[in-house]
Symmetry: C2
Subunit: 259 residues, 2 copies
Amino acid sequence: MAGRRTLKAVLIDLSGTLHIEDMAVPGAQDALNRLRKASVAVKFVTNTTKESKRNLLERLTRLNFDLQEHEIFTSLTAARRLVEQQQHRPLLLLEQRALEDFTGIDTSEPNAVVIGLAPEHFNYQTLNTAFRLVLDGAPLIAIHKARYYKREDGLALGPGPFVAALEYAAGCTATVVGKPQQAFFTQALSELGCSPEEAAMIGDDVRDDVGGAQHTGMLGILVKTGKYRAGDESKITPSPYLTCDSFPDAVEHILNNLL
Amino acid sequence: MAGRRTLKAVLIDLSGTLHIEDMAVPGAQDALNRLRKASVAVKFVTNTTKESKRNLLERLTRLNFDLQEHEIFTSLTAARRLVEQQQHRPLLLLEQRALEDFTGIDTSEPNAVVIGLAPEHFNYQTLNTAFRLVLDGAPLIAIHKARYYKREDGLALGPGPFVAALEYAAGCTATVVGKPQQAFFTQALSELGCSPEEAAMIGDDVRDDVGGAQHTGMLGILVKTGKYRAGDESKITPSPYLTCDSFPDAVEHILNNLL
């Protein structure tokens, strides 16, 4: 364990940490409420390329979690920030329901490409349009670069392979905005006005959640739910600050030791 | 120039070297006839992912070149050889007209993936099918890995980006069969019963034709037609054995110096 700290903020992953599909992790709602009563800020951070903040809020509210839309920070949020900061007019290769997080963004005469998991856009013609933009100097912004994900009928391609295709074609490197990028964590924390050293991240993905957060200077807490597999805690260096059975145990540790 | 050799065979590129689209390079037909009258074997070698040998033969015959189908060796030929040697049952991601070069190959219950430039197959569902095969251990065989090519309406994605996508997704490396792979040149030469040291390659692509051939041990002759751009000859090490204005000059040099 690292030396004792006093936390000002806790970042919390959603899928696999607070819930698994349409089931809440047992005791997670109560644990969140207890954390909220302590003097610590919370923010919900997730890598999604297809769900808007409103979609995520609706699911969590249905599962009786107490949170508000402005407390959710996703890889789509991070992409929108980047587009706004750099005043890009993006070609948005995103699923329909993700587009609402880009409401108000000028997409005329695109001079940037934002790419998430968007099977309906992954055809030769649309990828060729994106390729020509990137070859002409448009930045390529990837929501994240996951190789594949688990679907009911088996594994399926993630956005990563299509990002890799455009990188290879145009000889460029995409700017990735989601976890485990340090900029993702620091952006989420900047809204809370605290530094990485004053924050912890709780998640089920040892590399994207825990490794990414720790590289940024935060404490990383791995939970053994969701995508966790035995031995995951030894897959990163340094190893997680703490590994817990589930979210309520992580909260218990924070309340007893880090506040 | 390298030390003097006596050639037994000359490999000749097609597009950009003997013809540019539907125009023969001036004097190329006569030059080919003169080469045929000397005691040297010829073979026509090309990187194509979409044209069968019959398609290529028809175009060249229309342009009054004297050649036969069995003298043409393409990247599709090389892929078929590999599939036969290793007894694969390939999923063929190829354009319709390229499929005739695979007539007779068993494609039931695929256990390999052969990929060329096939826009109609480059959709999420088909690429996902290929991904699952490769993840299960099926070899990924790429006709070639060109990043893009020039089309009437501008640059367009080549097969390379889609090969790169599957490599990234499945964490594998494709077997590339076309130029500039050494195996491509040695296979073409093995049919003529001669070694690389007894052969020269004439082509307009400094890397794929000349560099590839020279790495295999052949003499490489670069012609300044087709895709040649000023300064190309300095882009490879060692530089081309010879750089000529066009195919007839290359033949003249061979007849005068290498037979």
